[in-house]
Amino acid sequence: MDTLPTKRDHNFSSSLYRLLLFCYPAEFRRIYAREMATTFRDCYREAMQQHGKTGIARLWALMLYDLVTSLFVEHFRAFIARWKHLFAIEERQANTLMNTMSIIFAQRTDIGLQRSLNEDSALSFLPEDPQILSKKGALFVVADGLGGHSQGEVASQLAVSIVQSAYYQNERDELGLALRQAVEQANAHIYQENQSQSPQPSPDKRMGTTCVAAVLQDDTLYVANVGDSRAYIVRAGQVKQVSLDHSVIAEQIRAGLLKPEQVADHPQRKMITRCLGEEGNVEVDIFTEKVQVGDLLLLCTDGLTQYLDDEELRKIVQTYDPQESVQHLIERANERGGEDNITAVVVRVA
């Protein structure tokens, strides 16, 4: 058989199949189109080698049959999923955020399996006013409270609400600085709350909280961090932790005193070196990153990261839409013990 026409047929078949893949729902296509095209090519090669032109005819019969039946199933399921989204209040879509990009996000917090209180707090905020939105962007905050007598819950709620109000009231054009000041204000407020308690609580009963806050404005991401809650960016299969943990362990690793693999059962695993509410002044780290379409942002507390490594986090947020991702992340942490409260915010730049 002439090899040239065969190759041409092959290219034609592959192109046609890739074209037909556009019939599937976008979400499905995004995850599997490439793999399906590769699989088609493999099938084509096998059919050609074993049965020649008859094999190709039979292959196309199977492919078309498969296409019709699975298209129906996928569209039906996508339709159901859309309806569910309409009623899911946590997830909102912002098409007006930026000229070229939109974002889809979801947040979820869970008490875990072993604690009696959920001391985590989370906030995803998209200003209604399009002018404020385009000037100040969207804000996402995760805080993990600590302190006795349910004080941790109060501290983390104070942190997210003060960061929100202080950030959007700040008139500065430099958003990174405005975010830093907002976190500093939250610290000052929680510190004051501690000081005004009477009688003065013992140091271990004073309330405090971690705080990781992210602003997404146009194509820039600003992250402010105090404590060991984390911000990650997932881009093109790579995961990057944007924030640096302020924890005993992370500092020992950075100083080369401890290896990352020694962390799992370390007694000081949960000990943090910086938090909001402890001192009148706190040093807030600020990180700035450029984002692009397809990027995923994950903010979470250590109740999640103590069980899931970077690679697992990446797989989940890349496989599912944000709404499903936060659910899967929390389920996974609970399956492994759910020792702490678990909170996750996932934002997809689309």
Binding site: F28, E35, M36, T39, L62, M63, D66, R108, D110
Partner: protein
């Protein structure tokens, strides 16, 4: 928001595609095309699954925690294009066993009524 872990029985019955994919993954992790080949081979060509059915099932199986992605790497036997590999989770194995047991009971019932090897009377029914 706490969700209880579902028992394996809660997933039953499985669709034929899902069961075949699980059986193909019993011996170890495979990529999509390798799953299709295995299914065709093991069923003597009687069951042929197209990519749409395959990846639609894979998507839902991942969402249910029955299988997971393991790594992306080339298949040495094919070419150097990277492929995603899938493997059964513990839950997936339990669900598969439960399904096979369920099917066994049905086969057992069928045998006891002698419809498989038995009288012609039941033949075409």
């Amino acid at each position: 928001m706490k969700k209880e872990q579902r028992s394996p029985e809660a997933f039953l019955p499985l669709t034929p595609a899902v069961l075949h994919i699980m059986l193909a993954l019993v011996d170890g992790e495979r990529h999509g095309y390798s799953i299709m080949q295995e299914v065709t081979l093991r069923t003597g060509g009687k069951v042929r699954m197209g990519p749409g059915t395959l990846y639609g099932s894979i998507k839902r199986m991942i969402a249910d925690g029955l299988i997971e992605e393991s790594a992306e790497r080339p298949d040495p036997a094919l070419d150097d294009e990277r492929r995603r590999y899938y493997r059964l989770t513990n839950l997936g194995q339990r669900v598969m066993r439960a399904e096979v047991q369920r099917l066994e009971q049905i086969v057992h019932l069928a045998r006891s009524k002698q419809i498989v090897t038995g009288s012609e009377m039941m033949g075409g029914a």
